[in-house]
Symmetry: C2
Subunit: 307 residues, 2 copies
């Protein structure tokens, strides 16, 4: 493990790949890696990119990489793919549009499975961000396949969230339904060269941006139009956040990470105890002799230490 971490701190690509795979496996080694790299982490800024399927997120992220590279940044990309809650397998997203950066040493692109539980991906994602961070990538883009609770979850992990919308598919309604209107720092109307783009841009401005500390932009990701301005806006927004309330944001983020880890640890403990001792309680609920809340409470009383 020490070998992997040493290589990781030198930015060696095989070590990055190995480390993230270990994190995805979520075994005892995952924890060892985090214990060893944690103190080196915290230098990268992390940008979430979300939005409905077909909005052009991957194309846009590809162009964002180009602009960041031209400005001298090293860019890591983590693409969180939807995956089955039962088999746990991931369906890889279309990474083809990012292939032009595949041979660039200043870019690292990786897909991650979202697994079933949102707790699962949160932990793996936070730790994968740390891996890229200590490997020397100073801008990390997390692209998620949008429009769900996962995106809301991810928005609490990244420093800044970009919501990408598509004028072709009534995305303002979709966005509202999915709760995307409340998580974005920057709203991008992509495919701005087609009809409907201005209407969507105006919708978004009035629905989302006015009265909130968010901005709206237009891009044409396939040609790269507007992407330079987008990166300007991202950087501007990041520095504003860093100078304003950043410590409080970090504290909340640590609290929320600790809660996730603690609940996952407690969940294992409780599951074991239920199996070992509390089978009788389940029988009582099945026979309707005890309701679920009183049953749960009696188990909690046995598990929790008195103050």
């Amino acid at each position: 493990m020490a070998n992997i971490v040493d290589a990781l701190l030198k930015g060696e690509r095989w070590a990055i790949a190995k480390a993230i795979s270990i994190l995805e496996d979520d075994g005892i080694q995952a924890r060892e890696i985090v214990e060893m790299i944690f103190k080196h982490s915290g230098n990268a800024r992390v940008i979430g990119v979300t939005g409905p399927a077909g909005a052009g997120k991957s194309t846009l992220v590809g162009k964002m990489i180009g602009v960041y590279r031209a400005r001298g940044f090293r860019v890591g990309v983590l693409a969180v793919d939807p995956s089955s809650s039962i088999s746990g397998g991931a369906i890889l997203g279309d990474r083809v549009r990012m292939q032009e950066h595949a041979l660039d040493d200043g870019t690292y692109i990786r897909s991650m499975a979202s697994r079933g539980a949102s707790g699962g991906i949160s932990a793996a994602l936070r730790d994968a961000i740390r891996v890229l961070d200590v490997a020397g990538f100073n801008r990390i883009i997390v692209e998620s396949v949008g429009a769900g609770q996962l995106d809301v979850k991810i928005s609490s992990i990244v420093d800044l969230t970009i919501v990408v919308l598509n004028p072709q598919t009534g995305d303002s309604i979709q966005a509202i339904k999915a709760g995307l209107t409340e998580i974005g720092d920057i709203y991008v109307v992509n495919k701005a060269d087609i009809s409907g783009a201005n209407a969507l841009y105006n919708d978004i401005k009035s629905l989302v941006v006015d009265g909130r500390d968010a901005i709206a932009l237009k891009t044409v990701a396939v040609t790269g139009k507007g992407v330079d301005e987008l990166i300007d806006a991202v950087e501007h927004s990041l520095s504003k956040k860093l100078s304003n309330g950043y410590k409080e944001m970090m504290r909340k983020r640590v609290e929320s990470e600790l809660m996730d880890i603690i609940l996952s640890m407690l969940s294992k403990v409780v599951q074991e105890r239920i199996k070992k001792e509390e089978g009788g309680i389940i029988e009582k609920v099945l026979k309707k002799e005890m309701d679920p809340y009183n049953a749960a409470e009696s188990i909690v009383a046995k598990v929790i230490r008195d103050e």
Copy 2:
């Protein structure tokens, strides 16, 4: 509270509405209601209906109500709407298509907010099902706005899951991506009168149904075509489940409900303790003196009673 429960057991509509509102508020009264009605519950069969937006779920559910009513069943419908994770408000789905049943005493239709946490909606949904159950509805349909982890969660609460798909929008791919291929007992290709329906039906049969204990059907919800056959299939599948492994399924369901409630209770306890005593640990993590896993473990050790 006893008044509400008395009226509920007589099937009075004001009491149903009041009880579900209390459940949504998730206060101490919610628990009282469940404690009082739990022993009367367990008579209804519960059918989940999910699938991507625009597949025609509401229209189909409206027609399913009609067939069930004609067969003498009393039908409750709970429509789980997506909602903001931040404001907690629900955007009501289009219930217009079910309005024809609004004046029928044997039908009760209600929208519920899905709230942010999937734990939250699971608890409120399980308990709302109990409310309709003890109020005398013997078939309860849970319609969810599809294609997310919420649906996978709901499928573990209901007795049987129907996945509704739309030939117009490449739904076989969407369904696979969203994990819907693994939760359905019955796959319905709706809008079966338009082109693409047979191709989708064949896709679904080969992708999903073959080799699994699931079936595929075609409907045209707007005309009601195929809905009678759908209800036949639902009832057949329900009786098969009831006679085959039902006890084991119920035991797993109780286990999973207890885990949800226990984790929600533990989460509150831990959050309080973190606030009261463990602020120092968060500081240590912020200063990178301690990694999140060791920090979480030290809190867990203080919270958990030794065996």
